[in-house]
Symmetry: C2
Subunit: 331 residues, 2 copies
């Protein structure tokens, strides 16, 4: 067992009561069903049918043993990030979710690490709550959405959050959430998951490049879900624009150089694409991610990664070394 | 001279008077300047500073000779597509632009081919005007925007247009235009050109995949600017979603199979990306494009393509064979 799967999610077995009447329409509840399944209900509708893999330590560890996964990094199912609630209500959710992640880690500390959540809709409060992420929960970092109620993470309003994440040495995993441009997708209602997620993730990454965030906070460790989404398709054109357009050259650093400081998971469902990302972003920046236990994920992340046929150094980097650097697990 | 550059633009030397008072605020005018430069003015502001390469046959041909370009395919500067005017006003613009392209071709018929424009904001009228594109102007096809006032080309409202394009055997070149999600870009005002163009182009391509357009009209020949933009980053995830989600499998055909029926230019500013697109979309589907004469283009398309180091068959395909198939220049 040698693989660290950085992109896995949890859902708690139950939710507390809604902390305020105003948030009740968007506060999740759990309806348990036979065979350890459960419906996450939001606003009277099933948001997602999940099962005990979302919250049960023994089942997760058994799956990890079978899938040759040494460690899963646990982060909230993104819909639980609760940016659309008041910051105080989101804080109540964060307390419950961070507690759930902490319990899973406590049950099997050698096999799990945690990425918690904070109320990003209030950047000052989010910054304040990061200390507990580090010192109370002992997590390696946090997960944030690719947008926070439509604001990209590179927006300067989030600088207080980024400053504190850097100061505390917390890793930040940016995950697709409520994607943009859904009115440009023609077809079944699930399309935003497949078309919109990569767009939103790539826009988040581009915003961090063009806002010069890593110039202001050079020690941040930031990773992007789904291989950075569309960043790979944008980067060469953006870098060319940066080279030929004085206003861009003055506003931010070489996009290639910044992109090569980010981390990315390899959850892109195509080996040629992973190899392309290794060339574009660097073999030192890509780690394993599966979206476990959700259906839209990679069911065999170790096999998928092994079948890339990497040489020993690149295999070691992708299977665990890059994740360890991102998570701050190396000395 | 053996290269066909499919992605080049024209701007006429002058514009006629606005055909209606209502369109005047968005109708372009030309202010000529020293050294054969000119400002395209829209709404009292300079939209773009251009020069005589936009309209002058002899200068274009001299540049083509120097750049080892056998043929340029001429299409409107996308801002001239005029979808935001009334269909009748856009028709007046189309008449002027199509006439300008036809004059350039007439001046050097061995060196130019044309992609005209029709008023896509009225799909029935656009369909009706395609006959003149083919028979009056003798063009190989038309250029359309990646969105038409926010509607993607895969939207079924455009079926009358696509049906007629197929019937007439006209090639359709989809070019980025007024991109989506500009509020998610942090930085100088030019960023949408570099970040938004690939997004909009990829969304257009995805919409054609997910609407099943090529199932309804299997003989269409459709190409996308800028290497299809973000389609390369979306396709593997969309194809995986299609494979595991019954509603998607029922709604449209294998996304890979459809993507491999589209054509793409190689205007992506990165050789590794071109090679990646060749693997993803097929070496038979990618041709040369430069954005001549605009600043955000590839100044040396022949050299860029030659330096890919393709074998003889792939070089022949990319330099001209794929373009000839797209344009219907082969028997």
């Amino acid at each position: 067992l040698s693989v660290i799967d950085v992109h896995t999610h949890i859902v708690p077995e139950n939710f507390p009561a809604a902390p305020s009447p105003s948030c009740a329409p968007r506060w999740p509840t759990m309806v348990h069903k036979p065979e350890k399944k459960a419906s996450v209900m939001i606003g009277g509708k099933e948001f997602r049918l999940v099962d005990h893999r979302c919250w049960e330590c023994t089942r997760r560890v058994a799956d990890m043993d079978e899938g040759e996964i040494a460690m899963q990094v646990l982060s909230p199912m993104p819909e639980l990030l609760s940016y659309w609630l008041t910051a105080e209500d989101a804080r109540a959710m964060a307390k419950h979710i961070n507690g759930t992640i902490a319990e899973l880690i406590a049950a099997s500390p050698a096999r799990f690490a945690g990425l918690g959540m904070v109320p990003m809709q209030d950047p000052e409060l989010a910054a304040k709550d990061l200390a507990a992420i580090r010192h109370e929960y002992g997590f390696r970092g946090i997960e944030i959405g690719s947008n926070i109620n439509g604001k990209v993470p590179g927006d300067p309003i989030f600088d207080p959050f980024w400053a504190e994440a850097e100061r505390l040495g917390l890793a930040v995993f940016v995950h697709a959430l409520h994607p943009v441009a859904t009115d440009r997708m023609v077809g079944p209602a699930v399309l935003p998951t497949f078309i919109g997620f990569p767009i939103d993730t790539g826009l988040a990454a581009a915003s961090i490049i063009t806002s010069g965030l890593l110039t202001r906070f050079p020690n941040l460790r930031i990773a992007f879900s789904h291989g950075g989404g569309i960043l790979a398709s944008i980067l060469p054109r953006l870098a060319n624009g940066w080279r030929i357009t004085p206003s861009l050259g003055q506003a931010f650093a070489d996009p290639y150089a910044t992109a090569r400081r980010f981390y990315y998971d390899n959850l892109v469902f195509d080996q040629a694409t992973v190899r392309h990302l290794m060339g574009l972003f660097g073999a030192s920046q890509i780690f394993v991610g599966s979206d476990y236990p959700f259906a839209a994920g990679e069911p065999h992340p170790t096999r998928f990664t092994r079948e890339l046929g990497l040489d020993a150094a690149d295999w070691d980097a992708m299977r665990s070394g890059n994740a360890e650097r991102f998570l701050g697990l190396v000395r």
